[in-house]
Amino acid sequence: MLAPFEYDYMVKAILVSGLIGGVCAFLSCFITLKGWSLMGDALSHAIVPGVSLAWLAGLPFSAGAFFAGVLAALGMGWVRRNSRLREDAVIGVVFTTFFAAGLLLLTLYPSNLNLRTIVFGNILAISDPDILQVLVISGLSILVLALKWRDLLLYCFDEAHARSLGLNTGFLHFLLLALLSATAVAALQTVGACLVVAMLVTPGATAYLLTDRFGKMLGIATAAGAGCGVAGAYASWFFNGSTGGCIVVLQTLVFLAVLVLAPKHGLLASRRQRRLAASLS
């Protein structure tokens, strides 16, 4: 059972997965409230050309990825304002364009940054400079979230109310997008582009089923995200399978268990309540 801990790379992978899982989960509470799943999915794909360009230019990959993510978000906003297309369609057009550009760059200039890394993540082979980047991104994200969480919460719950209180909603919108890009960059390393959205949605939804208080929701989501990151990375050693896949499958299983068993909003609880109501009437 302790075999994975004998290998340095496994210990590193488990710790980093836990950290990224926790940070993404913290942000996921805001994303699920705001209804931005598609945006999370879109940005996690849109950062791919940034990663390949940064690699070609010899820059740190997170700088390129973050830049591409923000550029995609601005592009979506611009097309949305200047056309009569629905927002979801605009997001679909823009992020697939970015991803296709990244894919083309990767096939034209083969590098050690292969397609497998993009799809599966490469947490088992993460290098020390990459770990440093992840630490910096996580630290900054947590700092910003800790300072601004009340404003962001109000913005996610009720944008009109936030504006009437005098909050700068344009800035908050951009801040949330930037946080989303930054965490997507970190999560790309662990689970790969296709599954980043799971890290950014599932823990928040799990916590939302368990509590009605936002403070508790943040705590539960972060614990669930970090726990699944650690346990998933650990389990992948025994399965000998994709680390990202294991982490996300685990998160989904936890969600399903909570969906059935949650004390107040779970399926069993609501069935009990319905039966109680029926017997009373």
Partner: protein, 276 residues
């Protein structure tokens, strides 16, 4: 290398024909998706087919069958969880499709080499095999027939479900028809551009056409035309630059979209500026 070089190879002409067919079918369907606002649903179903493909491969069934089944499972599970809880639909969709996709990845790394996975994820229209070609053509043809037969009902359902119900259409049935068509087109276009970029084939042509016209019949024609053009141009270009075919197709689609966005006669950027 001459410009006609690609046509000398049978695999290139086959790829161009298959690409044109898939492009046209996806484009017709994309008009409905764009109206209905189902981009995320397209993205979700296209990812959710992965475990079905792996399981069908293990069981020796046609891959299309497994893909179709898990695609529908994703949609059904999303509807069910959304009805049973207070979680928003987009969140539920995100959870369900990533769960299925992750399951597919884990199964995949257990059972097979990665040579084939790249084809499923990124498309492989140049190396398409006879059996896969038959599946693609069948799925495309079936989808095409159903879309053409039910096009008025589907249009009303996408535009205004309340009115569709009021005039006596079975909207529950139409919902499942639309979902099945979506799963069918995803299966058809997997070979061309792969799981990750299918959503571009299902959204971009409809958007391009929507910027160019106000009439739905014309929108269908324009979408199909632009998509066939983009698909052929993408396949053709990928021969010369030796890059991923799926990516070239999607970038060609995006280029046509940008042209429509800037130069569209009535709703384009320049026209709007002139009018202002």
């Amino acid at each position: 290398m001459s410009l006609l070089e690609p046509f000398r190879y049978p695999f290139m002409t086959e790829a161009l024909l298959a690409g044109a067919l898939v492009g046209a079918v996806c484009a017709l369907f994309s008009c409905y998706l764009v109206l209905k606002g189902w981009s995320l649903m397209g993205d979700a179903i296209s990812h959710a087919v992965l475990p079905g493909i792996v399981l069908a491969h293990l069981a020796g069934l046609p891959l299309a069958l497994g893909a179709f089944a898990t695609g529908l499972l994703c949609a059904a599970a999303t509807g069910w969880i959304k009805a049973a809880t207070r979680i928003k639909e987009d969140t539920v969709m995100g959870i369900v499709f990533t769960g299925l996709f992750a399951l597919g990845l884990v199964l995949f790394t257990k059972v097979e080499t990665d040579a084939h996975l790249n084809h499923i994820l990124f498309g492989n229209i140049l190396g398409i095999e006879r059996a896969d070609m038959i599946q693609t053509v069948t799925a495309s043809a079936l989808t095409l027939v159903v879309v053409l037969l039910m096009r008025r009902d589907l249009m009303l359902f996408c535009f205004d479900p309340a009115q569709a119900r009021a005039i006596g259409l079975n909207t529950g049935l139409l919902y499942y028809v639309l979902l099945s068509l979506l799963a069918g087109t995803v299966v058809a276009s997997l070979q061309a551009v792969g799981i990750i970029l299918v959503v571009a084939m299902l959204v971009t042509p409809g958007c391009t056409a929507r910027l160019l016209t106000d009439r739905f019949d014309r929108m269908l024609l324009l979408a199909a035309g632009s998509s066939v053009l983009a698909t052929c141009a993408g396949v053709y270009a990928s021969f010369f630059i030796n890059g991923s075919t799926g990516a070239c197709i999607v970038l060609a689609q995006a280029a046509l979209f940008m042209l429509a966005f800037v130069f569209g006669p009535k709703h384009g950027l320049l026209a709007a500026r002139r009018a202002a």
